[in-house]
Amino acid sequence: MGQFGIGQPLRRKEDPRLLRGEGRYTDDVNVDGQLWAAFYRSPHPHADILSIDPAPARAAPGVAAVFTIADLDADGVPDMPCEVELSDLSGRPMWKPMRPILARGRVRFVGECVAIVLAATQAQAREAAELLKVEYAPLPAVADSESALAADAPVLWEALGSNVPVHWQNQDSAPVDAAMAAAAHRVRVRIVNNRLVPSPMEPKAALAAWDAQAAKLTLWAPTQGGRRIQANIAKRYLRLEQDQLRVISQDVGGGFGMRGQTYPEFVAVAWAAKQIGGAVKWRADRTETFFSDYHGRDQVNEAEMGLDSDGRMVALKIVTLVNLGAYMAENGPRMPIEGGGRIIPCCYHAPQFHFSVKPVFTNTVSTDTYRGAGRPEANFLMERLMDEAARATGLPREEVRRRNYITQFPYRTPMGYVIDSGEFARGMDDALRMAEWSTFEERRTEARARGRLRGIGVAAFIEAAGGRAPTEDMRVRVDAEGAVTVFSGSHAHGQGHDTVFSQLVNEFLGVDPDRVRLVQGDTDVTPRGSIGTFGSRSSMMGGGGLKASCEKIVAKATLVAAHLMQAEPAAVRFETGVFRAGASETTFSEVAAAAWDARRIPEGMTPGLDESCLFQREAENFPNGCHVCEVEIDPDTGTPEIVRYVAIDDCGVVLNPLIVHGQVYGGVAQGLGQAMVENALYDADGQLVSATYMDYGMPRAHHMAHVEAGFNTTPCRTNPLGVKGAGEAGACGAPPAFIGALVDALRDHGVTHIDMPATPEKIWRAINRANAPA
């Protein structure tokens, strides 16, 4: 490994620009003559729309237009589909509703878009939106998935007749029930996996400008890679050729899975701009993002594990409800089944496994991918079961895990996915050692003397990265001066691709990272087959495509070098930026210059040094790790304090440790946020109670502790770089490690579980309920 190549903690290239305030996020862009858009949103969770009178809004100062679904329908704009296909055991397919861009006849959640208002200024647009007159006939509403199953629950979709569009199961439960009945120990848990708001710090925004001369629309919007949104909006909604829409996402203020989707607001803004033949800008305020960004998690899991007398799992049964919201988002029902199901039963071998999932409609905004997308839920469930298994068998928590770890690879999971590699016990041993697990009881005793309750938790987890879309398109161009431009299909919104891709180019071509430029987030120039960044796929997919493109560059450059040196191509070696054949040598830059000069290349060769690769992955990769969390609780207030946090991660080959650790820290914070403070709360009537940062707990610096992080590297065997994704690990490890520590601290109070978020109030109640005289 060279000074700047793979594995070096290179400081980020993107930082100086961002640190000087020179980032260019969507709201930083303005177009002359742009109108501002505001959405009129439903105040009702469930209601029939009797009438819409846009006249008072149209008459307001500065207003240029008000559009409702009638205008979209008149133009033939179709509704939004869900891409997921599922069926029940009898083969009956899942029932799927379509979502209109603006509500048609009925609203089904608070914040659903009903109309879009265009005005000269943002303030005018917002004020006019408030003047819109909509008459409603309110309907009964239901917000949580369990209530939505009740026989008398309000039904969101009459055509379906219930709120459950499919009952999916991996297999009939009979064999698992038999194994469960015969088990020496049986443990059960019931877990409410709290609903979260992804909350990247940059609110959703969009600016669309129609250029009549070019017959082309440009859409600036924060996305995780614009190609899919480009194809969707251009072809489906605007009936344009794909290239008549240019999507630009230059700097994007965080993604976390919620920016891959085509939001109805994007479609409405793009359509409105085309309709008026001008430019339309919209920026959500934070409350709108709470109402309308797709939420994450929101599962209820009931699970049972059977173990033999040695503490080895013999059967596992998981019954899951996932709250879909009112509509089905692009990936909605995928979360537990493909999201979590890709890894379940996580790090452990389960000889018998039954998995049942019911997606449920409720009067809430849709749920979709959020950091981990089903895997944090699955890992949380398995780790709570393992802690319970330790209690039931009397084995130490680490020992019951050790006895059940998968140790033979490749390993085929009960759902048919193949895990290539991992060293789970080694990772746990490293974490326990770093966290001084063996001497914990001394610290518990010492804390007790100070009147504090101290506990420790351990959580093993596994992730699946790089999944779903099996290809990514990358292009590398070397100019005649030897400088390199990477045209990336994947997209960075915090992950540091500019730096890491430069390191890879340095590794493969020997070019100084400062001479590598990254082009991303502009569909006019990014590769055609670009997919984008999600599921921690950029290291494997982007990196793999980049490596293959660089190999093509070296192959062609070798022919040019051979021609220049008058050597046989087979005799030419390329090493650290220099081509050698016998005693002659020529540098990469010299070869690059020649490659663009038709007179200096072999006959029949096309000039240039510009290669691309539609990289096809062989398999997903399976990052994993073990986290240990130690907490102290103030029993008078119930306030928990994280006193130590250790994270050992297997992210495969580490391309840049600074950046990979950064991903781990960020994931841990989101995991601890879920475990400690975050909760998207709808009341029973379907009103979103937590719609600002005053009501929705965000993890802040003082909630967090310094994370001590290390790697347990097991190179991935199924991709050329040996990498495993790093983005979602922390969000998987932190919730069970933290809750495990809390429960351990409260074990003398008879506490066996606390649902997330474990707020001081919940903890205080748990302590005092236990203390209360019976």
Partner: protein
Amino acid sequence: MKTKVTLNVNGQERTAEVEPRTLLVELLRDQLGMTGTHVGCDTTQCGCCVIHVDDKAVKSCTMLAVQAQGKKVVTIEGLAAADGTLHPMQEAFRDHHGLQCGFCTPGMVMMGVDIARRLPGADEKTVREQLEGNICRCTGYQGIVEAILSVVNPGAVKEHHHA
């Protein structure tokens, strides 16, 4: 009805016509075209908009433009030297990987400079508490806390595990 305000922004006298309800951050971003200061919320919670007004850290979403009349304002754009050389706090954020997407960063850096001015020698706990009004969704705060500590109290920076 518009009002004229004159203020000094990053060493330059600037005058603008604003509505009484115009927020200082709107004046900076929309009228003066200085988009380094960001807006991340509507309730004074996130700190993406922190700037300095008369040498104090202020949330520019929570101050009216007219209140800045005659004041000295420094934004993130005014921190680095004219040739682009980063301010030591900016440099520290880079060294400690204190930013990912960069959206919270201008506010974090301005807050860090303010902490350094008020609380030299602050310990880790104090720095974390001082960041109560700044939210970062990407970094888990680790690099941010380390960066600020490296300026105010270098001995308190915890060792990194880059192995």
